[in-house]
């Protein structure tokens, strides 16, 4: 299977370790991974801030880069949701504005084959035990887009539960937003920070060493908060946990 890794602009620039972990994990599972260097960004930040027209060229670019692959895998619930949920909407709005079907037709091929990482593992590869080893106490935050846009359900939990040595503890109020929300974190910084602080306190109450999620954008906000609050809690992307083995443990 020719699978393309769509790493997302945030991960590419700020969290290359997550990218390396995805490559390591998928390769270990026998997947032939490619990273098309033409990739940039799905356009989510533009779209969510109200710049729909600025989003269109980015979506078209995404389709150009990834159109030929059998599957596109991304370690980001919100970017996967952007492609799957909102690309069709971009096409639909363009049509409603009398600009015909061109955009919808261009974007259509990538929509069904773009998967969030845990979705790809469980649904496409059919695995829940990826042979990982990670001897730590972990709590899982199911980010909003993973939870409500992609309906990831218990896929990430099933993957984590199969990790050797990992003790999974329940996060109180897990389904509540951490307060990141892209530009919301800047435009409504006070509310965003209050939400983040509550999330960190809830995670701390579990006694976990690691707070895990499937989206580094949320982890950047939560991690920035733990760091400022001098909390011992460490934010870690789920890909890094799943990639960790006894021979090559994650740090």
């Amino acid at each position: 299977m020719r699978v393309a890794l769509f790493l997302t602009c945030v991960n590419d620039t700020l969290y290359p370790d997550t990218g390396r972990a995805v490559v390591k994990l998928l390769t270990r599972l026998g997947v032939d991974v490619d990273f098309p260097l033409g990739q940039t960004c799905c356009g989510q930040a533009h779209y969510n801030t109200g710049y729909r027209h600025e989003t269109e060229p980015l979506a078209r670019h995404f389709s150009d880069v990834f159109g030929e692959y059998e599957a596109v895998v991304t370690p980001s619930g919100s970017c996967a949701a952007m492609v799957r949920e909102l690309y069709p909407r971009l096409g639909e709005r363009a049509r409603a504005e009398g600009r015909g079907q061109t955009l919808a037709r261009t974007l259509a091929p990538v929509v069904p084959k773009t998967y969030e990482l845990t979705e790809f593992l469980v649904d496409v590869l059919g695995v829940t035990d990826v042979g990982a080893h990670y001897p730590r106490k972990v709590t899982y935050h199911p980010t909003c887009h993973g939870l409500r846009a992609l309906r990831l359900g218990d896929r990430p939990r099933r993957l984590l539960e199969a990790v050797k040595g990992l003790e999974l503890v329940e996060l109180p109020g897990a389904e509540e937003c951490c307060g990141f929300g892209g530009t919301f974190a800047l435009k409504n910084a006070d509310v965003s920070a209050a939400m983040g602080a509550d999330k960190v306190r809830a995670a701390e109450s579990t006694g976990a060493q690691v707070l895990c999620a499937a989206d580094n954008s949320c982890l950047m906000h939560i991690g920035g908060t733990t760091s400022r609050l001098r909390s011992g809690l460490r934010p870690v992307h789920i890909a890094e946990i799943l990639a960790s083995t006894e021979e090559e443990p994650a740090l």
């Binding site: 790493l7 602009c9 590419d12 620039t13 700020l14 969290y15 290359p16 370790d17 990218g19 390396r20 490619d34 990273f35 098309p36 260097l37 033409g38 990739q39 940039t40 960004c41 356009g43 930040a45 533009h46 779209y47 969510n48 801030t49 109200g50 710049y51 729909r52 027209h53 600025e54 060229p57 980015l58 670019h61 150009d64 409603a96 909003c144 887009h145 939870l147 409500r148 509540e176 937003c177 929300g181 892209g182 530009t183 919301f184 974190a185 800047l186 435009k187 409504n188 910084a189 006070d190 509310v191 965003s192 920070a193 939400m195 983040g196 602080a197 950047m220 920035g224 908060t225 400022r228």
Partner: protein, 498 residues
């Protein structure tokens, strides 16, 4: 044209108003407690119903169908109400509705009215307008009474005094009741039973004296001209049946075609709103009926920005709202910012999409409301008529930053982008350009990596919004794409991509 009044003077933009609320510990405690309690109860009440998804879909469809043929159903409603002995008045905006109601009350020779809790009359500021016409309006819903006595503003659709705790309510009753009628009993404590009894005694006097009642309605049935109010306390029923004249002010989107349609909402509304299987009081009235109930009945159909909203393909779904307030109770932003920060009688997620549509996005508060959300989607999940609130929020953000076509006061207009977004727009354009050119993105990444030791821990300018409370992630020594190229070799298509 942005003259539509939505019941509350608009103060600061949302972020500033919210900052104050976030810092108020009592308020945050009150709100957290109240919203979490009702949230959990609602989830249980909804889980009991095996066909919730179908009910939600049915509700969505009925509302969409009705909105699509609104003119037809409103005409049918007017006919039915008239046939049943009522009189229908059409009000284009708040001023017209207030004038109609004030004239109707004045014509009865009365200077006092009792009121059923109603969002529509809050929206148009009816109490203040009546006051100006020399008429005193008494709120009879317990929470509305608390707000009225406290010279306060409502902060929740269903529980307007949600921001108050019992101690605060006791103090308001003890201090203010005497001003308005029967004073609170001596030695009033803050136990719920005593507070309720004080309110009951205070209100009973009003019910028995009033000759005019004013209400809104949750639904209007076109086929029979029947109006429906659902409530928990029974105060509404007293106001609807005891006075000689009843005036109902209702938003024109509240019409449903038939009684069959009503059945769906009488299941979804109470469970979404108060987590009850059925409302304790469901009152229905159809025109006038001889010696029983009010002798005179007036229905004021309120537009106040609704047909403008209906003209918007994406935004019109906000008119499906049945005001259950489930979206408020589940919203993490509402929970922290409080209802007053939204600057209208409609707070929370529904307020954030309804007010900027009814009023337009010209004012600072209205331009800021579409951003009062992290787009977490919890509101969409609970909405019993499936309003995609995040979708409408993003659509309204577009209206704020890019402008575009809209209908205001019945006229097609081309809105200009709101002021203050020029720098952001330029940044977004630049980012879009860079992101459409992978080479430019890579240059930026390399520059960031190379200068990483110089990056400050706190940011200047607009970045302070982030670094005031959160640390920045350190920039890695090497972006992923450089690592990939170093370890996996050739350039595969960077140049080819447009």
């Amino acid at each position: 044209m942005s003259g539509t009044f939505v019941g509350m003077p608009a103060f600061a933009a949302f972020p500033e108003a919210a900052r104050e609320a976030v810092g108020n510990r009592t308020l945050r405690g009150n709100l957290r407690h109240a919203t979490h309690t009702i949230r959990a109860k609602r989830a249980r009440a909804v889980a009991e119903v095996s066909d919730w998804a179908e009910l939600r879909e049915a509700g969505r469809r009925i509302k969409d169908h009705t909105l699509h043929h609104l003119d037809r159903y409103l005409e049918q409603l007017e006919e039915s109400v008239t046939r049943a002995g009522g009189t229908v008045h059409w009000a284009a905006d708040a001023a017209e509705a207030n004038r109609i109601v004030a004239d109707l009350v004045t014509a009865t020779g009365e200077s006092e009215v009792v009121k059923v809790k109603s969002m529509a009359t809050q929206e148009i500021g009816l109490n203040e307008a009546l006051e100006a016409a020399g008429i005193r309006a008494y709120e009879t819903d317990l929470a509305e009474l608390i707000v009225q006595l406290g010279k306060d503003r409502p902060s929740h659709i269903l529980v307007p005094a949600i921001h108050r705790n019992r101690g605060e309510i006791r103090d308001i009753f003890a201090k203010e009741m005497g001003e308005w009628g029967r004073p609170a009993p001596d030695g009033l404590t803050d136990t719920p039973a005593e507070l309720a009894e004080a309110a009951r005694l205070h209100l009973r006097e009003k019910f028995l004296r009033a000759k005019v009642g004013i209400s809104g309605a949750n639904f209007m049935v076109a086929e029979t001209g029947t109006l429906v109010v659902v409530e928990s306390e029974g105060n509404g029923r007293m106001c609807l049946t005891l006075p000689e004249t009843l005036i109902s002010v209702v938003g024109l989107e509240k019409v449903v075609p038939t009684w069959r349609d009503l059945e769906v909402f009488l299941q979804t509304l109470p469970r979404s709103a108060t987590a009850e299987r059925m409302n304790p009081y469901t009152s229905m009235w159809t025109g006038t009926t001889g010696e029983d109930g009010p002798r005179t009945f007036h229905l004021v159909l309120l537009d106040n920005g609704r047909t403008d909203t209906l003209a918007d393909q994406v935004g019109r779904q906000a008119l499906r709202c049945i005001r259950c307030s489930a979206c408020l109770n589940v919203c993490p932003v509402y929970e922290r910012a409080g209802g007053h920060a939204y600057g209208s009688v409609y707070p929370g997620p529904i307020g954030a999409i309804l007010s900027p549509q009814l009023r337009g996005t010209a004012s600072e508060i209205d331009a800021s409301l579409p951003y009062a959300s992290s787009l977490c989607g919890a509101c969409y999940d609970v909405c019993p008529v499936a309003i995609d609130i995040p979708e409408v929020l993003v659509h309204l953000r577009e209206r704020v930053v890019e402008g575009g076509p809209a209908v205001r006061a019945g006229n097609r207009v081309l809105l200009k982008p709101a002021k203050g977004h020029a720098a952001e727009r330029a940044a977004m354009r630049a980012a879009r350009w860079a992101l459409a050119h992978p080479g430019a993105l890579r240059t930026g990444q390399r520059l960031a990596s190379r200068t990483r030791r110089l990056h400050p821990r706190t940011l200047p300018g607009p970045g302070r919004a982030w670094s005031g409370t959160r640390d920045l992630p350190p920039v890695p020594a090497e972006p992923f794409r450089d690592w990939w190229q170093r370890t996996h070799g050739t350039d595969n298509g960077e140049g080819a991509a447009k």
